[in-house]
């Protein structure tokens, strides 16, 4: 049982109406975050995966969130500052290594 097991279960319930339709997309995106960040435990993940297999709206929202996350992440990763060439050496010099 992980840190977020209880939170996940309760939030999951709040996302859906009695008929099982997704009614709170904002809360749902919090669950998606936990799953995509690999912070949901096995039980929570199973509950989530079962839902997106059977609920078109949930699956659509999940795929949208996943695609967006991956796209932003890829573009951010591509943009990196040049590392000063002398940085490693000046660190070593400063502590006499």
């Amino acid at each position: 049982m992980s840190e977020f097991s209880m939170w996940f279960e309760q939030t999951f319930k709040q996302c859906y109406c009695e008929k099982g339709n997704l009614v709170d997309q904002e809360r749902f995106s919090e669950l998606v975050q936990l799953v995509l960040d690999d912070e949901a435990d096995e039980e929570s993940r199973a509950l989530f995966e079962e839902k997106i297999r059977t609920c078109v709206q949930s699956n659509g929202k999940f795929l949208e969130e996943k695609g967006l996350r991956e796209c932003i992440q890829t573009k951010l990763t591509q943009f990196k500052q040049d590392i000063p060439g002398d940085l490693a050496q000046s660190i070593k010099n400063s502590i006499n290594l």
């Binding site: 995106s29 796209c71 932003i72 992440q73 573009k75 951010l76 943009f79 490693a88 000046s90 660190i91």
Partner: protein
Amino acid sequence: MSEIEEEAVRQNYSEQEKTSIFDTEFMIHVDSMYNFAYRLTFDEDDAKDLVQDTYLKAFRFINSFERGTNAKAWLFRILKNSFINEFRKKSKQPAKVDYNEVESYYNSDDAGENITTDLRVETVQHMIGDEITGALNALPVDFRTVIILSDLEGFTYEEMSKILDIPIGTVRSRLHRARNMLREKLVSYAKEMGYNN
């Protein structure tokens, strides 16, 4: 410096062991450290000074580090604390929105109503890396930091909790808010630039 030493089991490394740890466990993270420092300070010289200062402290307190444990998280924690305690005051970055104000706003019950997440993958695909980096840089530093640590450096929530000295639940909620804020910025930017959304 007490934050470096707290909860640590004190080691007693020889000079040779210290050098070895420094070279093999610390120096391999210098590029990540510089990128993190630059994303905090927005200034090459400040970033360089911050990284050097972090490594100096790391060497000085190396006996508080247990060999083979998570050196990257340990170094990031020192860097973050150095930034808050020393560099943030003299940083050349423009004045930022007060973090406490921002956090209390985003923690309020109605905050969700104003969060726009209507951003499409196709819109982001039109953008280039430095446009997205610009949007990230426009976030208040504490929100920017969680995105950097999670999405760029790959730290887990538990590691982030230790680096930032905040509960793991706060890591989860702050990260969610930070990503929503980033999307809001990207939506505004897309509209400004005339990208279809």
